[in-house]
């Protein structure tokens, strides 16, 4: 188990991480999700031991690792740009971390071949390299140099170099960001399968919410150097803790509509359900706002984007012209732009946020517990 307690890191006056606390449970796949520049890589480097926190503690199984190097912490890491050693072959790249661990100075030198013990260790090492290469299907590439590989192949080699060991935690820094869309989807599934097969603890950094939702058991959403919410993909989607998290999660950006200053729901949305009498921001996901002949929301259609499985509608509220996004089934007969459209939603899909702080207010329809 890895515990991060109140970690901060600043460079000069800029505060990159600000009181981050997070627990990684053993064997779990945790995603660290956040927009570019929010401090994800910085946090990963702290966990790896490549950088020291300004304040705060990192505990591996209860022991403070402040003074331990990356290899003493026994972390494995896949870097954003793979960072393969260009002058070594794929096989040597994968073998290096094992060689550093299992062979002494003599064993790594050419003279080592003279000692039977070293020869035995080298043989098991070669076997381990081959096993992980088979797992990732890169056996035919073992003799090549990294420059002779495609991006996807380099990524597999980088994974192999991390997987060949038996580390305390896997740290992956946007490993799929350099791949094309199709390969990315395929690698997602393979990484999840890999996690299941190895049973190791994964901390997976990404800025892509779809990737985090598809892969992770738990997601920690990071915004501006703080952890905004930790929870299962479903919990983040259904009960976002703040406006910002709600805005970040979901394939279609959520509608955030301010209510009237004296409190209650915006009149253009309301269909008579009760609401707290204080200033609110109401969140309603486009996938929950759909055309309905007798719906309470009256809008005027701006444009329709057909996406195959769904049509995304851009509208304005009839009452005050607030822009809204909605969705319709692919077979919905879209009227011309400028037509009036009535839309409906289910009351339990409304997310209510405090207008001043952006924090979630329990919807009267849901029990107040948050996961």
């Amino acid at each position: 188990m890895i515990e991060l307690r109140n970690l901060s890191r600043h460079y000069g006056a800029t505060r990159v991480l600000d009181g981050v606390s997070l627990t990684l449970e053993p064997g779990r796949f945790t995603a660290l999700l956040g927009p570019s520049g929010c401090g994800k890589s910085t946090l990963l480097r702290l966990v790896a031991g490549l950088d020291r926190p300004s304040t705060g503690q990192i505990l591996f199984d209860g022991r403070d690792v402040a003074q331990e190097s990356p290899s003493e912490r026994n972390v494995a890491m896949v870097f954003q740009a793979y960072a393969l050693y260009p002058h070594l072959t794929v096989a040597q790249n994968i073998a290096l971390p094992l060689a550093m661990r299992r062979l002494g100075r003599l064993g790594r030198s050419p003279l080592g071949a003279l000692s039977p013990a070293v020869r035995r260790t080298r043989a098991t090492l070669a076997r381990d390299v081959r096993a992980v290469a088979e797992l990732l299907e890169i056996v035919p590439l073992l003799a090549r140099k990294p420059a002779q590989l495609s991006g996807g192949q380099q990524q597999r080699v980088a994974l192999a170099r991390a997987l060949v060991r038996d580390p305390s935690v896997f740290l992956l820094d946007e490993p799929l960001s350099n791949l094309d869309a199709r390969l990315r989807i395929q690698m997602r599934a393979e990484l999840v399968a890999l996690h299941r097969r190895t049973g190791h603890t994964f901390l997976y950094v990404t800025h892509d919410q779809a990737e985090a939702m598809a892969m992770a058991e738990r997601i920690a959403v990071m915004l501006d150097g703080r952890i905004a919410q930790v929870g299962s993909p479903r919990a983040l989607y259904e009960r976002p803790a703040t406006c910002d998290v709600a805005g970040f999660i979901g394939a279609h950006p959520i509608n955030l509509i301010p209510g009237p200053p004296e409190g209650g729901l915006p009149p253009a949305l309301a269909s008579g359900q009760p609401a707290p009498e204080r200033p609110l921001v109401v969140g309603l996901r486009p996938e929950h706002l759909t055309p309905a002949a007798d719906g309470p929301v009256q809008g005027r259609l701006d444009r329709v984007a057909f996406q195959g499985d769904v049509q995304v509608l851009g509208l304005r509220l009839e009452a005050d012209g607030t822009p809204l996004r909605a969705t319709a089934p692919p077979d919905w007969p879209a009227p011309d732009a400028g037509s009036a459209v009535r839309l409906g939603y289910r009351p339990e899909h409304l997310h209510l946020f405090d207008a001043a702080h952006g924090t979630r207010i329990a919807n009267p329809g849901e029990e107040s517990s948050c996961a």
């Binding site: 480097r45 790896a48 490549l50 190097s69 990356p70 290899s71 972390v75 494995a76 890491m77 870097f79 954003q80 740009a81 960072a83 393969l84 050693y85 260009p86 002058h87 290096l96 971390p97 550093m100 661990r101 170099r161």
Partner: protein, 272 residues
């Protein structure tokens, strides 16, 4: 389009001829008999390939010893220069520490100081340690090369930091990173540096003249000097043969390392 090309080609040829002519003349003379050398006409080509001059050069003086001395001194200097310059350059390029910019500034300033300025303090220092007229006197003053530190720093500075982070995660110590990752990747720069260093010290006459007096420690340029002064002042043929023998290792070495050398110069941002 064609005319300017032809012109520049012709200019290059003329330039090459001007540079190469003295070398050619040296080689040509080294094969000529004495009566062939001093003729009123200019014969670019020897009548026949005669090896007597080479035999004379090798037998009359201790030329082989001088070549050996040159090899020991140049190898010693290069090994120690790399040993110090490479880790230093790595620290300057890839480690954060207080005073880093100051140290780098000092190194840049050091590039501007001609060696001759430091010769007398160095001589006095070596004399105090009783090292004058030893191999050490020829090697020690050059083991810290600011040029090497600069060249390697430039090479290391453009390498991605993630590469070294990956090596740390893989369990390499900082020194292992220097020699197993950074140095092999800087091999073109290392070749360029090696050639600069070896050529400079192989051909150096100034410092060996100051630091050594014993003939047994003479490096090739000083050896040639002996050669001419002592016995064969007028015997141009053997002198030229000796000069060819002294220059040959450099030329062969350069031709072998040429490709890496030019890449290294380009990588270091230097114009050759």
């Amino acid at each position: 389009m064609r005319a300017p090309r032809l012109l520049s080609f012709a200019l290059l040829l003329i330039g090459a001829a001007v540079v190469l002519l003295p070398f050619y003349w040296m080689v040509s003379l080294s094969f000529k008999a004495p009566d062939e050398i001093f003729t009123p006409t200019l014969d670019l080509w020897p009548n026949a390939l005669r090896w007597q001059n080479y035999a004379a050069a090798l037998s009359r003086t201790n030329l082989l010893l001088y070549l050996w001395n040159g090899t020991v001194v140049c190898a010693g200097i290069l090994v120690f220069q790399l040993l110090f310059a490479v880790p230093c350059a790595y620290a300057l390029a890839q480690r954060r520490f207080r005073g880093r910019t100051l140290v780098f500034g000092l190194i840049l300033a050091g590039l501007l100081v001609p060696f001759h300025v430091t010769a007398i303090p160095l001589f006095l220092g070596l004399a105090r340690f009783g090292l004058i007229d030893t191999y050490a006197a020829l090697i020690v003053p050059f083991i810290a090369s600011v040029f090497g530190m600069f060249l390697f720093r430039q090479a290391f500075a453009v390498m991605p930091a993630a590469l070294f982070d990956a090596a740390r995660v893989d369990g390499l110590s900082e020194f292992q990173i220097v020699w197993r990752i950074a140095f092999p990747l800087a091999l073109p720069a290392a070749t360029a540096f090696g050639i600069f260093s070896v050529v400079a010290h192989w051909n150096d006459l100034f410092w060996p003249l100051i630091a050594t007096t014993s003939p047994d420690l003479a490096t090739p340029p000083r050896g040639i000097l002996y050669f001419r002064d002592r016995e064969s002042g007028d015997d141009v043929g053997p002198l030229m043969a000796a000069a060819v023998l002294v220059v040959a290792p450099m030329v062969v070495g350069f031709l072998m390392a040429q490709r890496a050398f030019i890449r290294g110069i380009a990588a270091g941002g230097l114009k050759g």
